[in-house]
């Protein structure tokens, strides 16, 4: 039941995007996000859109699944669009009715903002669709490892994230079991008002927490028995190597970046975001 929820929705595959080093993907995604906000006019945004149109097919992701995953953000996009439409003022008024006015500029902004948000979500989702949570964690750990020199606990945080990811499915399964056991004693999780439902969670949460603490104890002991002693002196079996793919990806992103800057300059006369 609950087991079917995966985090970040990873679709395994063997496309060029999948094969990019996770560090590259993280850096390039960050740059993309920054770029989207640096876009000043419709032309620049278009560059951002074109980039996605080029890159998505490269990832060989099943488009139907991707579109389905984007469905949850539709309300946010609509809300933003509506807010922009009603509250941005401009010279050319399209609709005026009592205190509600919609200007041409408002509509343009609504559309551009919507496009920006969609690109934002689509762009960052590409990262999580093509990178497994653990690879992502590894990538973040290696990217930030220079910070260890200034006493930032990079390894510890990464280890925590790994263990959390490892135990989420297990804890979900356990929650199922605890729920069944309490239901078998007549626990009622469906009826009642908010307060009653919250109280009904106690027989689930307490055993779950107790169990999680016990697991943590056991796991810590097992780790120590396998000579774990912190991040000092640790090697990794999986080596991350930058390859040709990473060079190409970076070049593509640089092109996009250049394109947006150029578009910003060229489109100085257009509607400004």
């Amino acid at each position: 039941m609950l087991k079917d929820i995966t985090i970040g929705q990873f679709f395994p595959g063997d496309s060029p995007i999948h094969r990019l080093d996770p560090r590259t993907k993280i850096v390039l995604t960050t740059i993309y996000v920054v770029m989207l906000f640096a876009a000043r006019n419709p032309l620049s945004l278009l560059v951002g859109v074109v980039f996605l149109v080029v890159v998505y097919p490269l990832s060989r992701l099943p488009m139907s699944l991707v579109l389905r995953s984007l469905r949850p953000i539709v309300p946010i996009v609509l809300l933003t669009a509506v807010l922009n439409m009603f509250f941005i003022d401009g010279e050319v008024k399209l609709v005026e009715w009592h205190f509600i006015s919609i200007s041409q500029r408002g509509v343009m902004m609504a559309v551009l903002m919507a496009v920006r948000i969609i690109c934002l979500i689509a762009g960052t989702s590409l990262l999580t669709y093509t990178t497994s949570p653990i690879t992502l964690t590894d990538g973040i750990e290696r990217l930030f490892s220079p910070l260890k020199k200034i006493k930032v606990p990079v390894h510890e945080v990464a280890m925590m994230m790994t263990i959390a990811l490892r135990f989420i499915p297990t804890l979900v399964e356990e929650t199922d079991k605890i729920m069944s056991a309490q239901k078998a004693r007549g626990a009622d999780m469906e009826s009642g008002g908010v307060m009653q439902r919250i109280r009904a969670l106690v027989p689930i949460l307490i055993p779950l927490f107790v169990s999680a603490f016990r697991r943590a104890d056991d796991l810590a002991l097992a780790m120590e028995c396998r000579c774990y002693h912190g991040g000092e002196g640790r090697t990794r079996m999986r080596q991350m190597k930058l390859g040709a793919v990473d060079v190409w990806g970076s070049l593509l992103m640089a092109l996009c970046f250049g394109g947006i800057i150029a578009a910003n300059i060229l489109g100085a006369g257009m509607v400004q975001l």
Binding site: K3, P133, I134, T162, I163, L165, R166, P169, T170, E173, R214, R215, D218, L219, L221, A222, M223, E224, C225, R226, C227, Y228, H229, G233, R234, T235, R236, M237, R238, Q239
Partner: protein
């Protein structure tokens, strides 16, 4: 032959402490002498509370003695400097299959110990593959732990230990939470480690059918060693074992009952085949 694990006058109690922190001492191990030789397959039998797990935890310095000494591969467990070395010599597998797996992918978990020890990456890869093959989990090396059965998870845990190339593996009730098939898988794997790779095995359990196939069985009761010998010898003390809350194989029970009724049978019958043989011989002797 050199003893890998050597306990002398080993005592252990919980509690104690001084002044405000003083708590009543609960003795768990009392003046034990115990040694494990290289290549042995030893089973430590005892009911819950007998001290068997506590004893096991002294073998890789999870617990330190309250009295006496424990030497592992010549190193004193009380010596803090030797800790990591001791733990790379004696690996430990625990009861709960889930709570030993750290990584999100099987092969990464098997690599965990080696990564901690700072082994060179290519060597890690080699040893991980070897270990996975040894426990017959190579095909599932890219699976996530929650997709595995209990028996498979324990085999992954064993692989993670084998990859360290320890002298000895201690398993603390590794099958207690498994179904019969998982138990069989794990026991076969353990026996294979001992037989094919000469690994010293110390298996803590309360299941007598697991003890039946060891080289040596040690029965612990109330923190002391009650019996120590070949399975046949130990199991022949049927009444004593029942007194301390342990099972005896039904074959041994049957022969014991027949002996009590006056028939002549050996005392150390354990396996099904052995039992059938001995009873057949009895029938021949009786002339039926």
């Amino acid at each position: 032959m050199e003893a890998i694990i050597q306990c002398r006058n080993l005592s252990f109690h919980y509690g104690g402490g001084e002044g405000e922190d003083k708590r009543p001492e609960v003795p768990v191990l009392r003046d034990l002498d115990f040694a494990v030789k290289q290549g042995e397959f030893v089973v430590v039998l005892g009911h819950n509370g007998s001290g068997k797990s506590t004893l096991a935890k002294h073998f890789n310095a999870i617990l330190l003695p309250s009295g006496g000494t424990v030497y592992v591969g010549g190193l004193n467990t009380a010596d803090e400097e030797s800790l990591l070395q001791i733990r790379s010599h004696v690996g430990m597998v625990f009861q709960n299959p889930d709570n030993q797996i750290v990584a999100t992918v099987v092969e990464e978990d098997v690599a965990f110990a080696l990564e901690n020890m700072g082994v060179e990456p290519l060597e890690i890869r080699r040893r991980v593959d070897d270990a996975l093959r040894a426990v017959d989990m190579y095909d599932l090396r890219l699976h996530a732990p929650h997709q595995l059965s209990g028996g498979q998870k324990q085999r992954v845990a064993i692989a993670g230990i084998i990859a360290m190339r320890p002298d000895c593996i201690v398993l603390d009730e590794p099958t207690a939470m498994l179904d019969p098939r998982g138990r069989g898988e794990v026991l076969d794997t353990i026996r294979q480690m001992n037989r094919d790779f000469g690994m010293t095995i110390v298996l803590i359990t309360h299941y007598m059918d697991e003890a039946a196939r060891a080289d040596r069985v040690v029965v612990i009761e109330n923190g002391k060693i009650l019996l120590d010998g070949a399975p046949g010898d130990v199991f022949s003390h049927v009444d004593l074992l029942k007194e301390v809350g342990l099972d005896v194989p039904q074959s041994t029970q049957l022969c014991h009952e027949l002996m009590r009724a006056g028939y002549d049978l050996p005392r150390d019958v354990i396996s099904t085949g052995q039992c059938i043989e001995e009873i057949s011989r009895l029938v021949e002797r009786v002339g039926k």
